[in-house]
Amino acid sequence: MIKNKSSMFVIIAITIYLIMPIVFTFFYSIFAEWNEVLPKGLTFRYYIQILTDLHFMESIGRTLFISILPIVLCTIVILLAMYVVIVFAPQYDKYIQVLSTIPYALQGVIIAISVLSLYADAPAPFSNRMVMLTGTYCILILPYMYQGIKNSLNTVNAPRLIEAAQMLGASRIYAFFAVIVPNILSGITVSALLSAAIIFGDFVIVNIIGGNYFETSQVYLYKAMFKSGQLTSAIGVVLFVITLLLSAGVYFIKNKKLNHGEMK
């Protein structure tokens, strides 16, 4: 009982600690004036302002696009690489692990400047800012995506399951994508959400590579900082809610799929 109470206390304390910043940001954004100790007058005009601003909506669209595209590409590339490693060449696993871990050690600003200086004068489509940004994010999220997928593959004993599927008449590639991938979907989802959070919150890379060419919500937020603190807070809250809804949506779809699989 004592243990339960103390655990509950710790959980509540951590929850308050994590929620406080967003709650106060929200409070700051809905008061008309907050120049003294206590705020005066409620208002939603900042929310109305940003939600009716077409630029903001476009920037959200760009952020979502640039968050999802690298994750999808990275997942496909890693899954194909893992298929080759599991089925044909297990000895290459250690090299892939090393290569995938290197981006951990690189600062975002270094990757961004390196990519920009290397590809700015390259022929199309490599010099396209969106292509550069997608490639850079693929590098950035590679360690998180790789480790998540690798751990999930280890858990399901993928080589043995592929062998079992082969004995039942499936080809190796079919076995990998029809049997193994559905079993590691939760691992892929967690890695994808983590990666999406990293990309969604990034400002350094998008500002260096994208800048005015490709204005994402983070760049929009940065520009808003010079206009009004309350407007910035409102944007922060909206971005938080969007991230929350996306994460909840992904979890909902994943759980629905898993439950459907079990009930079939």
Binding site: L168, G169, K264
Partner: protein, 337 residues
């Protein structure tokens, strides 16, 4: 001509010669066991037949067809693995139906066959559960149903019962035998457990270090091992050199080979027996005893030679440690290796 023929199979893992020129024929409908200790090559041979390992040289024929180069999925071979290897996200039904779906069978036929297999492995009512909701024994029965439902030409069982507790293992052994009798699928069973091999098999191929040491019916392998390795692996034979045996029976023993004596053929008595010239009799001293269920195994010594004798545990009347006992061994039970 055998239904399955291994012709001069060699297999190397790097420089390690795992299978050494294996020649083996298996008849259609037989339940055959590959018996041997870990690392002797028995599972590798099974995996070569399944197509999960390539062979370094030799040919494999199944039902008159050379399948050496064939893809595993095209060999029509069913396999059960030690770790069950069920698909975790699929129900028992979907696991069993997987192979039939790969064969693109009609939905009605899949359903009919799967339910028949579920009934056969006594899993009615469990078909909607996923592997995590099933016990180890139930999972292995799903694996069995999954392997037999598509009616493969051969059923391969790679130590399928080694992760299951003793009681359940016995019931599954019986179930597998019954299913084999019913379906008459040629089956190859791999195990390191000699008792399991004796119970299950029509023929046992005893493996030792990449070669087949002896191939025989269980009773022949047990009563007439042909090599010291076979005698040492099967049962708990006392293996003695000619000199040691002569010292033990206080007589010169003719011949140049080793002698193998099964512990249960050695008779112990506190009073001397009347023996004819068809048996050896001598006095030995009890050193120790261990209980093996219904059998008491005595360790005795005579002239510093230690040997074992089994006595059926019918009463608590034990031979006492340090006391002399009369030992008699029928001559025909002394096998010359």
């Amino acid at each position: 001509m055998g239904y399955i023929i291994f012709e001069g199979i060699n297999k190397y893992f790097g420089t390690n010669h795992v299978l050494k020129n294996i020649h083996l024929e298996i008849n259609q409908g037989d339940f055959v066991t590959l018996l041997g200790s870990s690392g002797c090559g028995k599972s590798t041979l099974l995996r070569c037949l399944a197509g999960l390992e390539t062979i370094s040289s030799g040919r494999i024929f199944l039902d008159g067809e050379d399948i050496t180069e064939k893809n595993p999925k095209d060999r029509n071979v069913g396999m059960i693995f030690q770790q069950y290897s069920l698909f975790p996200n699929m129900s028992a039904f979907d696991n069993i139906a997987f192979g039939l779906k790969m064969k693109k069978m009609a939905k009605d036929e899949i359903e009919e066959r799967v339910y028949k297999a579920i009934k056969m492995v006594e899993l009615v009512g469990k078909e909607k559960q996923v592997p995590a909701q099933l016990s180890g024994g139930q999972q292995q029965r799903v694996a069995l149903a999954r392997a037999i439902v598509a009616e493969p030409k051969v059923l391969l069982l790679d130590e399928p019962l080694s992760a299951i507790d003793a009681k359940l293992r016995r019931s599954l052994q019986a179930r597998i035998r019954e299913i084999h009798k019913e379906l008459k699928i040629t089956s190859i069973f791999v195990t390191h457990d000699q008792d399991e091999a004796m119970i299950m098999s029509d023929v046992i191929h005893l493996f030792n270090n990449g070669t087949i040491e002896q191939s025989d019916k269980p009773i022949d392998l047990y009563t007439a091992p042909k090599t010291p390795f076979a005698a040492g692996f099967i049962g708990h034979y006392n293996i003695l050199t000619k000199e040691v045996f002569s010292k033990m029976i206080h007589k010169d023993f003719e011949g140049t080979y080793d002698i193998a004596i099964r512990p249960e053929t050695i008779e112990l008595s506190s009073i001397p027996h009347e023996v004819d010239n068809q048996a050896y009799q001598f006095i030995a001293t009890i050193k120790d005893h261990t209980l093996h269920g219904n059998v008491l195994r005595y360790t005795l010594f005579v002239n510093d030679i230690e040997f074992k004798a089994d006595v059926l545990f019918r009463s608590f009347k034990l031979f006492h440690h340090g006391k002399p006992v009369y030992v008699s061994i029928e001559k025909h039970n002394c096998l010359i290796l």
